[in-house]
Amino acid sequence: MDMNEIKEIFFQECEEQLAELEGGLLRLNDGDRDPETVNAVFRAVHSIKGGAGAFGLDDLVSFAHVFETTLECVRSNRLEPSPDVLKVMLKSADVLADLTNAARDGGSVDAERSRALIGELEALARGEVETLARVEAPVAETPASPAPDAGTAIETPAPSSGNNEGFQPIPFSFDDFGDEPALETADEASCVPTCEILFRPRSDLYAKGNEATLLLRDLSRLGDMSIHCDMDSLPPLEEMNPEEAYFSWRISVATDRGEDAVRSVFEFAEWDCDLEVRTVKDEPLATDGGDPDEAPMQPVPFDLSILDDDQGPSIVETESPAVAAVNAAETATAVSQAAAAASRNTAAATAANAQGAAAQTIRVDLDRVDRLINLVGELVINQAMLSQSVVENDSNGVSSINMGLEELQQLTREIQDSVMAIRAQPVKPVFQRMSRIVREIADVTGKSVRLITEGENTEVDKTVIDKLAEPLTHMIRNAVDHGLESPEKREAAGKNPEGTVRLTAKHRSGRIVIELADDGAGINRERVRQKAIDNDLITADQNLSDEEVDNLIFHAGFSTADKISDISGRGVGMDVVKRSIQALGGRISISSKPGHGSVFTMSLPLTLAVLDGMVVTVAGQTLVVPLTAIVETLQPEAAAIHSFGAAQRLISIRNSFCPLVDVGKILNFRASQANPVEGVALLVESEGGGQRALMVDAIQGQRQVVIKSLEANYSHVPGIAAATILGDGRVALILDVDAVVAASRGQSLKPEISLAATG
């Protein structure tokens, strides 16, 4: 596996982590205070940072690091995840996503924005320290700066060489990390076995984002411990390679949890360090206390975060331990909380890993799945061809071949269903992306918006999901920009100043229905009407129903925004949305209530690979009509057909009149209209409301067909949605019902230039 593959996996994981991060932050925003949620968020950022470090993605690492530091404050309950804080964090999550994308695709990011956010995050992290100092100082009960304790103090021998200009080792104590007071453990230390550990990290350990200090901290939680840092191999400063690992530690821990517990601390680091663990039954060995000038050194409570970065406050504290006794205690408390949280987190991570192992998944290249789906499609067609030829050649029909074929048919159907299920994915990722869009637009427009998503786990074919993001983004933008009013207006109207956008997905009769509802002002029909008249879409005296007015917004070149904004209003909005939804074989409709908001409803097929269709004959050609479009089929009687105008004919169905559309004529298969009485009428419900009766010559049957692209080798054909291959091996065209109905309304099916018609 080469580096690029590993990197690709890292980015895939990043995507998952980012989704996790955003989901967690949104849950926090909704008032979730479950520490596990905070941990999940923290874990996500931490994993990204770790991975990015391994690949040397410095921008990503540094941003993730600041983000992580602030999250750590939340995790240790030092920073209240207030809406303001979460707002910054959500924005940071967005920037993190941008940085990840930039790292993958080599694009650039808005450096200004990430710098500003780093500032905000740092301010939050600093802010909490100050607040905390104010809150906790009066009630600090923890004994201030612990007394020097032979068992817990780290001894730092003087640097071997005088060349370490200005290098001042900062000794620090770990005794505050334990949850139980140090004194007790010191007593117990004599009766518990001691582990002697030699820990010599290699530079790889740091390169992979591990941190010796954190390992030591975790180790300290196992029991009373003493650490000796061996700095002998530290070269003079000018020879020092900053990325090399020079230090090693001799640690003795008094723990009753055994060597395994000790080794598990180094679980993720053991390949990158030399580690020796050995259990000594008796008293902890006196650690090299030989140096008389070192022994009395006063351990100073030390904020571990100083090792990660240069945060002002902690340095001040370490420099004047005497002055800041209270401060120190407080820092110590904070650190111990952090340590506790860290261990909780480790436990949680292990639990999560265990869960991950339970639901086993593999990553498969999408191309492979597609190839499989194609092959299964071929199999289905082949099977159908085979049965057809057997039926034609075998007149008694009960032979064993027939039985076998029936079984084969069931099997192929089952295989097809299972393969389709592989591609089914929850709509969650798309919905999650929408929350970012909402945030950004809310920011730009100065509106306050809450996005509620429901049914995120509704599954639909991956291709549908991929193509859903763009129209949905358009619609969300429209909903926030045009749909919702400004907070002032909302308040004036007696509404919650915070607008709500609700995004729902659900399955309904073999399709996925996605609803986007806002509680804004609804469609201003007067203005839509006026605009349509101005743009010559309708005439001033045209009488339109509310529904028809609402549907005007799907017209090309239509925009109701008074001024063109950055977000929407270029007039390319809803008609583009409608077209992309239609390209997916979907429908979109709108219902609006003045003052109460609008609801856009999209109905999409669950898959773009197969379709239930009715096979019909039109002018000698075999066509497939999608079953979802058909309301009912009927045999017209001569009495029910009424001529209307020059060429129009209507059919009366239960006392209502419905225009009759001759499919053969619309598609140019025949020059004149066929006699309706000799054919069959398919009553279809089309996009934009209104029923039409499609005239076909005969119905051959109903079957599931595999959709084949016409565009792949040809071009788009007006009135035709796609092609399929029938049991006899011939290609049949799938009718685009909406286009045919639209054509019957007078919009002509314009033949596009195809295969060099101009030549």
Binding site: V731, L733, A756, T758
Partner: protein
């Protein structure tokens, strides 16, 4: 022009085929397979030379009547007709011809520039003319024949 033709066809093999009493050829590298004629499904609103689509092992393949495309009389397909499945740009197209005659290995000297004639189609689509054993074979430029496909692929 002559240089370009030489470069494009140098050391290449061509497939020669017959339409009516004329002979044409295309670069063998763009030919994917040759198969017999099967009835095509007609397409609505298609130009006259597009006969329809057929099923080529699960792929929907448009069939072009090359005779009509080159401005000659429309073919009346029979079982004796052949379809040359050719790659044009990113798309695959079936070309209906009367028969495939042989495979030619051309040397540059065989290819002569197209004479300056009135017909637009021949001028655009013919890359050159080959004189082989007293026959005249016209080298067809498929990309020029289907410019819309070419532009889409680009």
């Amino acid at each position: 022009m002559t240089n370009a033709v030489k470069n494009l066809t140098h050391g290449r093999e061509l497939i020669a085929f017959r339409i009516g009493d004329q002979e044409f050829c295309v670069n063998i590298m763009s030919v994917r397979e040759i198969r017999g004629w099967t009835p095509a499904t007609a397409m609505p609103h298609a130009p006259g030379h597009v006969l329809g689509v057929i099923n080529l092992r699960g792929v929907v393949l448009p069939i072009v009547d090359l005779s009509q495309r080159l401005g000659m009389a429309p073919a009346e397909p029979t079982v004796r007709h052949v379809i040359i499945v050719a790659q044009v740009g990113a798309k695959v197209v079936g070309l209906l011809v009367d028969a495939v005659s042989d495979i030619l290995t051309v040397v540059d000297e065989n290819i002569q520039p197209t004479p300056n004639i009135a017909s637009e189609i021949e001028k655009v689509c013919a890359r050159g003319i080959l004189a082989i054993e007293g026959r005249m074979i016209c080298l067809i430029d498929l990309d020029a024949l289907f410019p819309d496909i070419e532009s889409e692929a680009a």
